[in-house]
């Protein structure tokens, strides 16, 4: 089976400003955020990137989403290179982050149509997608309410609906349940499972073990920009050792730090 997303040996180095060097407590002016990282994600699966803060998860997801370009290596989405065919890639992917804050002034309806137009969708298809997603997330009753007047949970649902406006094949979700209340978090995770069943390829980044165990088919553990372990959950955990223990053992081994 061909991989929908193929990450091939990518590396990404950032220049650190003096302020950042001070925060990172280093004299070195560069930081390798992603270090020769490779993995694949297939249609109808959820791949989880598990790692601590600053491990390189977000940078990897941004590279897959064409928001950043890897310094080395390449990424292919349905055989389209993010370096050469970024516009083709953009037609098939969605990038979601829990940090996203939509403009308070607009209504869900307005923003949905706005992004649908930018994705080149016609009116009929836009309405179909809107009806489907708004009904799925219970937004239909709030379609004409300004974002600023919605609850934080409803805002998050609107953000997801808007990011999925064009029915993307590949969904990249950075920290999907960060800052969500338990009810909204459940809606989001249930929907990700639903999307998986529809045959979507989903890559999520998280540092929450329970989320990985609940929704991911395969997982990649990323520490200091390197993918130190990748495979199905069953292949990573043993009968007596749970995912959390596996992760901390790997973390201590790779970083040399104790927990």
């Amino acid at each position: 089976m061909n991989a929908t997303v193929r990450v091939e040996d990518i590396s990404k180095t950032f220049h650190l400003s003096r302020k950042q060097q001070k925060i990172e407590q280093t004299n070195i002016s560069t930081k390798k955020a992603v270090d020769h990282l490779s993995f694949e994600a297939y249609q109808g699966e959820i791949y989880g990137l598990l790692g601590p803060n600053g491990a390189g998860k977000t940078t990897t997801l941004r590279c897959i989403s064409t928001l950043m370009r890897p310094d080395e290596g390449n990424i292919f989405i349905n055989e389209n290179s993010v370096l050469k065919n970024e516009n083709e890639v953009r037609k098939t992917i969605a990038f979601l982050t829990s940090d996203l804050k939509l403009e308070n002034f607009f209504t869900p309806n307005y923003l949905f149509i706005y992004f649908a137009k930018l994705h080149g969708m016609n009116d009929v298809y836009t309405k179909q997608r809107k009806d489907l997603l708004f009904s799925k997330f219970g937004i239909d009753k709030f379609a004409e309410v300004k974002i600023g007047d919605l609850s934080s949970g409803m805002r998050q649902k609107v953000q997801i609906a808007i990011s999925l406006v064009h029915d993307p094949e590949v969904i990249i979700f950075d920290e999907p349940t960060n800052g969500l209340d338990v009810l909204t978090a459940k809606v989001v995770t249930d929907y990700l499972i639903d999307l998986k069943k529809q045959g979507k390829t989903i890559i999520v980044s998280t540092h929450i073990f329970s989320l990985v165990e609940k929704i991911c088919d395969r997982v990649g553990i990323i520490i200091n920009g390197k993918l130190v372990k990748s495979g199905t959950l069953d292949s990573i955990i043993d009968k007596d050792i749970d995912l959390e223990t596996v992760f901390f053992n790997l973390f201590m081994l790779e970083s040399g730090e104790s927990v």
Partner: protein
Amino acid sequence: MRNILTIFKKEWDRVIRDKRLVFSIMLLPGLMIFLVYSFIGNAIENSQSDAQYQVAIVNPTDSFQTIYELIPTSATLTVVSIQVNETDSYQQMIDDGDWQLVIVLDEAIETYTGGVDKPSVEVYFNQNKADSSGAFSLFSNALLQYETLLSYDIYGDTSSFSTVYEGTPLNESEITGSLLASLLPMLVVMFLFTGSMAVGPESIAGEKERGTIATLLITPTKRSEIALGKILSLSVLSLLSAISSFIGIVLSLPKLLMAQSMDIGIYGFTDYLMLLSLMFSTVLVIVGLISIISAYAKTLKEATTLIMPLYIITIMIGLSSILGNGANSNYFLYLVPIFNTVQTMTAILTFNQNTVIYLVLTISSNLVLLFILTFILNRMFNSEKIMFSK
């Protein structure tokens, strides 16, 4: 092109559909300018018409009275005759600010026939008080005329030559144009800038701060379309804001300059069209600059802070309309942004013969600059370092 329109419409709706924003950006500037300038103009006018000159004269004469009563003034004049021994108490009142002027005329002022002892005139006023100084100025003028009159009585014709004053006939349009040209260009540039500042940073720095820029950049829309869509919509919105301010200025200027007869109808349709095209080309440059700063800034607050020095520079350039004497004739200077706007506007308002050349140079230069600024903004949207730096 479709994407440019989509982005244009969204930025447009962000402002136009928000009644509070429409009021604060489109209506309030013009209204405030009109009210404030009219208030200042009225205050100046009232302070002058409310002035009261109380003058005490020792040994007043009929001929002196005839002279000072003929001098035009908006102040209310009260002249009393006093005795010489009262001067001390009146001088005290002047020191205290309760009286304006004392004039002591020599009792022999009109009987002098040219002897050694010339008649004396003593004037006492308080130079710390505006009304006292005003009274002094008025009566100094009257005293000079009185002196000439008395000399004439003694010596006959005291002038050595006859002077005939002639000159270019009064041109109301030119005077009005010069008055407007000294103030309007600076004010218009200022309001173009403040209008752009009100809508610009939120559109780009706001999107960065909220994280929605990623959602926008991940669409198949070209970066150049995003840049152009934002610049064009923000420019139209800023222009509307500037036009509101412009109307406010034009309506209140006659009051402010105390030139009630100032007729702004001296400008025709072509002049207004030239002004509008000039303002639009300028606002494109200003919005372009503000957009680049906003794209560079990590937050809305940082963008506003970074824009301030540019605003101050713009005002300083705007001052050239007050300090200069008409439009500059050096064509190369019309390639300098903002300065070219100020100079071309001066040329339009003063009916300069080279206005069209200046306008073409300025608009061309601004459009080239817009192209460069859009290119830079496009590159910035492509720069992950700028878009996603923390």
